[in-house]
Structure formats: C-alpha cells, structure tokens
C-alpha cells in the first residue's frame, strides 16, 4: 500500500492514475495470474518447442510436401471462403438492415447459428448434406459437381463458419449510417448504382475489411466443421490443423509445434496487413 501510494503520488514514476476505488491490486493481480497460467505460459511452449529440432529441422518439418499442401489448403481455402462471405455478408447485412420482410427476426437470429452450433455437429451435418446421396450433394453430383471429400467441401465448411463475422460487423455500421449522404448524391443527379459505389461502399469498407479479416482468421484454424466433410486425403484435402494432430499421434511434439507456430505467425502477419489496410480505408474517409 505505502509502496503503491508512493509511486502513485510521484508524478514521474506514476504508471496509473490514483483512484478511491479499492481492489486494483487484487483484480489486476488475479487477471495477470490467470492470463499467464491459462494463455501466456502454455503459448510460450509453442514458441520454444520447435527449436529443439534446430533451424534446419523446423524448416524441413514445415516444408514437407504433405505439410505445405495442408497449409496451402487452410490458408487458400480460408481466403476464398472469406471473399465469398464478404460478398454475401454485405448483401445479407444490407437486406437485414434496410428492408422489412416476414420472418426477418428469425432469419436474423439464424445468422448466429455458426457461432452457437458446436463445430462437430456442423461438420457431420454439412458432410451428410453434401455427400453424393445427400439433400444438396445428390442434385450437385447429378451435375457432375463433387463437394464432400474434396477441397470444395473444405471451402463450404469455412463459408459456413465465417458468415456471421461479416454480417455482424456490418449490421451496426449500416444501421448507424444516415441516409443524408445518399439523398444528397441522388439529388445531385447520381444514379442509384453510382451512389452505392461512391457513397455507401466507401463508408462500409473499413467494417467490411474487419469482418472479412475475422472470418478469415477463424477459418484458417478451423478444425471441427471441416474434418468430416474434407475426407482428409493426404496431399488433397488435408487441412493444417489435422497435420498437427497427426504429428502429435506420432509423438512428434516438436514437428507439431513447428506447424502450429508457422500457422500462428502467418495468420498474425495477414491479420496485421489487413488491419493496416483497414486503417488506410478509415483514414481516407
């Protein structure tokens, strides 16, 4: 107490503003302890473990053709799914905010289903739906399109789990957007399409990038909803998280950690880039 009040009263060393509310030490202390035990210390193991293989060992572990293929599918599939979700998420958010129609509340509530439905349940449901004899897979296979047990199946699952991120990020922004600018644009002679492209879309761009980034980040690491529909054929439809599990089953802890570390670093790098892009969009307005 005397220590912290001495620190607090000296303007130079002060690292927090004084407050009459008690409990700062207790709550911050517990927060830091719990954060360290549950998140930070275990994550440190992921940072350190791969290097027991040496630099060359790590490089060869993550450049194995089977691993590279899985990384390509996880990141590539997540990118494609995120783009599809950006397009349809924008469309759905627009419809749900701007228009009235029967059962709108029900449709809106359903958007959150991928957040609430356990991934394993989503996985077996999608797999049953898109299998060659499934409700959707049947008609599609008659057209010669195979979804289940192919990379396309992986993308379908990633679209499913990513959708709410885009819609839920856009909805509040759309709802808060005033109609004045749109009215002004059309009064000045812009067509509806010009107004949407020049006025509405730029205003939505930062939120659209944020939502798409969230959908991408979730899709890169997704496991449960994917593995049932993917079929997990080596070099074809294996995702990166599955290879971590396979390495672990072979007691190759360091190899598993190397793949995990690369996934984590790559996705942070991409998220950072997209965040920069988002701030560029936000600054331009």
């Amino acid at each position: 107490m005397s220590m912290s009040s001495a620190v607090a009263s000296s303007p130079r060393l002060r690292w927090r503003n004084p407050s009459v509310l008690p409990g700062f030490g207790l709550t911050l202390g517990f927060t830091l302890f719990y954060l360290s035990v549950v998140v930070l210390i275990p994550l440190t193991a992921l940072l350190l473990r791969p290097w027991t293989l040496g630099w060359d060992g790590v490089v060869s572990a993550v450049t194995e053709p089977r691993v590279l293929n899985a990384l390509k599918l996880s990141f590539g599939g997540a990118a494609i799914a995120a783009i599809v979700n950006a397009v349809f998420g924008l469309l759905l958010a627009w419809t749900l905010v701007r228009y009235e129609f029967p059962l709108k509340r029900f449709v809106d509530a359903l958007i959150d289903l991928p957040f609430a439905l356990p991934t394993a349940v989503a996985g077996i449901a999608l797999s049953a739906l898109y299998a060659g004899n499934g409700w959707v897979g049947g008609p599609l296979s008659a057209l010669g399109i195979k979804v289940a047990y192919t990379p396309l199946g992986v993308i379908v699952a990633l679209i499913f789990i990513g959708l709410p991120f885009v819609v839920r990020t856009l909805e509040p922004v759309l709802a808060d957007m005033s109609l004045d600018a749109e009215e002004a644009a059309s009064t000045l002679g812009a067509t509806r399409f010009q107004t949407l492209r020049r006025v509405v879309l730029p205003a939505l761009a930062p939120a659209l990038v944020t939502g798409t980034t969230l959908a991408f980040a979730r899709a890169v690491g997704e496991y449960g909803s994917v593995i049932f529909i993917a079929g997990n054929l080596p070099m074809k439809s294996e995702i990166a998280p599955l290879l971590i599990i396979i390495k672990l089953q072979q007691y190759d802890y360091a190899g598993a950690a190397a793949i995990g570390l690369v996934m984590l670093l790559a996705s942070f790098l991409i998220i950072l880039t997209l965040n920069l892009l988002q701030s560029v969009f936000a600054a331009r307005r």
Binding site: W15, R16, N17, V20, L21, G23, F24, T27, F30, L35, V38, V39, P42, L43, A45, L91, W94, T95, R98, Y99, F101, R105, V107, A109, L110, I111, L113, P114, A116, L117, P118, T119, A120, V121, A122, I124, A125, A128, L129, G134, V136, L163, P172, E182, E183, S186, T187, G221, E222, Y223, G224, P241, I245, L248, Y251, Y253, A257, G260, M263, F268
Partner: protein
C-alpha cells in the same frame, strides 16, 4: 412515393429472395438435417442412443467441464473488466489485446500447447508422471483446453460495458463508506447483470460444444474422456449415424436455446448489454 434512397421493388425482392435462400441453404438446412437424421429410425432409436452408457458418460463429462470452466472464466472476466474499465494505467491496451488473443488461435493449437506443457514429453511430463498426476488425457486437460478457447467471452462483454458506465456510482458508494466488495455487489453487479449473463451464455455454448481443442487433449478414452462432441465423432466414424445425430441433436438443441436467449437479451435489455450489440 418512392424516396431516392429506396431501392426499386425488383432489387428489394431479388435481395430478399437471395438472403432467404442463402440463409435457408447454408444455415437452416444443416440444422434441420441434424434432427431429421436423428429421427430417421424413429424416436425410440434416438432415445436409445442417448441412454447408452458411453453417451451418458459423455453428457456427464461435458456438464462437469462446463461447470468448472464457465464460472472460472466468469470470475476472471469480472476481475479483468474491473481492473481494465475502472482504472487508468499503462499497458491497458496490451492487456486487452492479450485477453482477446485466444480468439485468434486455432482450437487445435489451443489443445497442442497443453500437450507441450503437460504431455508425457512435455515440460512437466516426467515430474507429473513421478507424482502420479494426470492432466493431459484426463479431466484437468479437458477443462484447461475449454478454458482457453472460451477465455475472452465474459471479459470482452464486460470491459466495454463497464467502461461505458464509468466509475461515478462506485466512487460515491466508496466515499459513503461501503467496502470494495459491498460496492461491487450492490452497485456494479446490478448494472452489469444482463451483460454478464450474455457473456456467460456465449461462453457456455462454446464450452459445451468445443471439439478441436478438447480432441487434442482428451486421448479419446471411450466412456471416460469423451465429451459429447467427441462422442459424436466416435459414433459417426463408427457408421452409427442415427446415434451420432441423436447426440448431435442434443447439442443442436443447446445451440437453439442459446440463440433464443441471446436474441431475447439483445431485444429486451439492449441498453444494458455492451454497446456493440445495439442494433
């Protein structure tokens, strides 16, 4: 008369049709097929699958896991929100970012890190074995992995809410002689109760449904370390489709109840849960 910001009837009809079609195909159909497949051989076959001893033990394990992980994360969320929202200190934004970190980590990596620490060849593996303590492939590992993936839910709900509410009311209570804990119980808790419930609801749904992280640390010992989602996987890979979908439909019911309660909270108490949900 049509205002300039209204879309044409054709555009509106087309977009509504696409929206309803898309949601129907991508969201409603997967939900329906779960119940449909569970009841394919009649309701008694579905119930028989749920009464199976392994299914019962999976349900039991899922409930125990959530009963430990959710309250711990709720207490953490309240502490973190109190520290972050009620005081000004350096490093606050780093702390908030670290609290959100588990959301950007793959569930499989979430499981992996505990194996690296507590597994046989992990940091503490030999010591744990010598002392006959089981963490990985046992309940503690399953609880830890669940805690990791549901870590931010309550905290990220309460931080913006409590920051919004400021600290005037709490400061008044303390000045009038209330203790810190009394202030929390009588002043803060009534203000955040709906936000807290909202966070706990989402945290619980994820805790009971987590698959990837738990699958890495559970060891898949049937009847012992299989949670409900893992049991669904075992049955499905065993070609026992009706049983798999029967257990899955219990989890789908949980999801539906969660969605209904979530919508109710957003609709009824919009102003008392975090600002981000007001729409």
């Amino acid at each position: 008369m049509r205002r300039p910001t209204d879309d044409s009837l054709f555009t509106r009809a087309a977009l509504i049709a696409v929206t309803v079609g898309y949601v129907g195909l991508f969201l409603l159909l997967p939900l329906l097929i779960v119940f449909f497949s569970a009841l394919e051989q009649g309701i008694s076959a579905a119930f028989a699958a749920l009464k199976d001893a392994d299914a019962q033990s999976a349900i039991h394990l899922t409930l125990i896991t959530a009963a430990i992980a959710v309250p711990l994360n709720a207490i953490f969320g309240i502490c973190a929100a109190w520290a972050v929202a009620k005081y000004d200190f350096r490093g606050k934004s780093i702390l908030t970012a670290l609290i959100d970190l588990p959301f950007s980590v793959s569930p499989v990596i979430a499981g992996l890190i505990y194996v690296l620490v507590f597994g046989m060849q992990g940091w503490l593996g030999p010591w744990l074995r010598d002392h006959d303590i089981k963490i990985v492939f046992a309940l503690p590992g399953i609880v830890l992995a669940t805690m990791f993936v549901t870590f931010p839910f309550v905290a990220r709900e309460l931080i913006p809410l409590m920051a919004d509410q400021g600290r005037d009311e709490e400061e008044a209570a303390v000045t009038l002689g209330a203790s810190g804990f009394q202030t929390f119980l009588r002043v803060t808790l009534p203000n955040i109760k709906w936000g807290l419930l909202y966070g706990v609801l989402l945290c619980n749904a994820r805790a009971m449904g987590e698959f990837g992280a738990v699958s890495v640390v559970s060891g898949h010992i049937r009847g012992l370390t299989d949670t409900m989602p893992l049991h669904v996987e075992v049955l499905y890979n065993d070609y026992q489709y009706v049983a798999a979908f029967a257990v899955a439909s219990l989890l789908a019911l949980l999801a539906i109840v969660t969605l209904i309660l979530k919508s109710l909270l957003e609709w009824r108490y919009a102003d008392e849960i975090a600002a981000v949900h007001r729409h």
